[in-house]
Amino acid sequence: MSGPPVLEVDGLRVGFAGETGLTQAVDGVSLALRAGEVLAIVGESGSGKSVTALSVMGLVRGSQALVEGSVRFEGKELLDAGEEELRRLRGARIAMVFQDPSSSFNPVYRVGNQIDEALRAHRALSAREVRELTLRTLGAAGIADPERLAASYPHELSGGMCQRAMIAMAVALEPSVLIADEPTTALDVTIQAQVLELLARLNRERNLATLLITHDLGVVAEVADRVAVMQGGRVVEEGPLEQIFYEPQHSHTRELLEALAHLGRPRGAS
């Protein structure tokens, strides 16, 4: 958990030009992520956490978005990287897992084929080698019957299974950074715990740098090493997990914690 950061975000600003002028979704965010650690970005919806993640992937480019600042991956600036350069990084070096696993796979292709497709985008392997790698990565993500899962269509799988497959796809090419954007929000509570456990295990075993984006402090408490609290496009507080939970400095952090405490108590007890 030491050494130079794998991913550095410096003064990132993302604005969207709309009919009513520029909306500043991210307004000067700075973060550093090291190998082997889980950094959680917490905040309410609209606080800019997902846009921050998508900017790192170079996925908010386009005519409507205005991205400024700096995003460095292994020392290399990504914000002025070419499209092909970014494409090579996406999925291979920086991978991402999304919120709704069932809609994150294309419904008309088998899950295995979609993972194969991701592998083929980065590696010149034969069809057989690709499939072997797909099955191996599914197995590593704790899927009992990889062959059957690979042959399934997304709608035939549960949300938890889809998310496991999604995580398997994300880590298949041994990326350095894994960005998980609300990976458990769409799942049942019991499945949530399993998926978090899987993320934590992969993080440990593969020395991944994990950026976990969530609105749920309960999720944060389970897996995060460090926490950045976002509000209105800015990081209002950042620190180790214990500090955020036991000595919150910023009023917004305290508000989020209080909301959690209220939810944790039985109704009528307050």
Binding site: L59, P107, A118, A121, Y153, M169
Partner: protein, 317 residues
């Protein structure tokens, strides 16, 4: 699958029955004397009565209906006015209609995919605006206008294409295509605009899907994302639209194009039969049209299970 096909077959028989009864009743409600038509212009009342007896027009309606249906399905139907074998006429007209519609369909689908794709991925830009304006014009232009203009300029004035007639593909494939280029194009003009607009809307919708973001995030090239993930899924609703349009066209809706280019197809046959109030061909042609609609719908449903694994035939009924 076989249970599905059996159910569809049963449904088709039901549809054909209802349509045949409707056509028969409409025909009998209209002021119309088939016996007089058959007997000729200067026929005596005795002759008309005689014709009525031999052709069975004096029998009760249900019996007449059964006779017509029997003749339809044994292929012995004869038209009242010209006393031509209806089956033979249909077989003569079918190749022209099928050639016209298939060729036009290939053109309009290909162009619509290209236009829809270009405008969706350049949404809001000049290419998009021009293409959408062109397709709006193409939708609004009446087909008789387009074909008349094409005939006047490309055929009569510049003499680039033949103005009329159908040449069988087995006789001379090149001449077949040469004679059909104008009809294909004018018919395609009618559909390209509509299909391009529908496809554009579908593409824009699919572009925002989560799985398209996933495809980008896993490092696919932009073209692969657009074709394998966006276009592939956006084409699904087009299949339904195409099944309906194509069935209607080969069932007789291609009439204007057939008529203007004198192709002598099913549509022209239908128009003549209706104008003459000639029950046998009208009956046979309505049944044929209904048959095409049901068959193409079934094909579309089967195609869907293959194109979209979420759809199962057992549930598609």
């Amino acid at each position: 699958m076989s249970a599905f096909l059996l159910k569809r077959l049963a449904r088709m028989l039901g549809v054909l029955f209802v349509i045949s009864v409707a056509v028969f009743l409409i025909f009998n409600v209209m002021p119309n004397e088939p016996a007089a038509q058959i007997a000729g212009k200067s026929a005596t009342p005795q002759l008309i009565a005689q014709v009525e007896e031999t052709w069975g027009f004096d029998e009760p309606l249900p019996e007449q209906y059964l006779t017509v249906m029997k003749l339809t399905f044994t292929g012995e139907l004869v038209s009242y006015t010209r006393q031509l074998d209806v089956d033979e006429e249909i077989w003569k007209g079918l190749p022209a209609t099928l050639s016209l519609c298939l060729g036009a369909a290939v053109i309009w689908l290909l162009l619509a995919i290209v236009f829809g794709y270009l405008s969706a991925f350049r949404a809001g830009k000049a290419t998009d605006r021009v293409l959408m304006l062109v397709s709006l014009i193409s939708i609004s232009l009446p087909i008789f206008l387009v074909s008349s203009l094409a005939l006047n300029y490309l055929s009569y004035k510049l003499e680039l294409f033949p103005s009329s007639g159908y040449v069988g593909i087995t006789e001379d494939p090149l001449d077949w295509a040469y004679h059909l280029i104008l009809p294909w194009t004018t018919m395609a003009v009618l559909f390209v605009g509509l299909y391009a607009r529908v496809l554009r809307a579908n593409l824009l919708e699919v572009m925002d899907e989560d799985y398209v973001r996933t495809a980008r995030a896993k490092g696919l090239g932009e073209r692969q994302v657009r074709i394998r993930h966006v276009l592939r899924n956006a084409l699904l609703p087009i299949v339904t639209l195409f099944g309906l349009d194509f069935a209607a066209l080969i069932g007789g809706a291609a009439i204007i194009t057939e008529y203007i280019f004198s192709l002598g197809g099913i549509g022209q046959l239908t128009a003549n039969a209706v104008a003459d109030l000639d029950l046998p061909p009208v009956m046979a042609l309505s049944m044929l049209a209904a048959f095409f609609v049901v068959v193409l719908n079934t094909l579309v449903d089967i195609a869907y299970t293959w194109l979209d694994p979420r759809i199962k035939l057992e549930r598609a009924q």
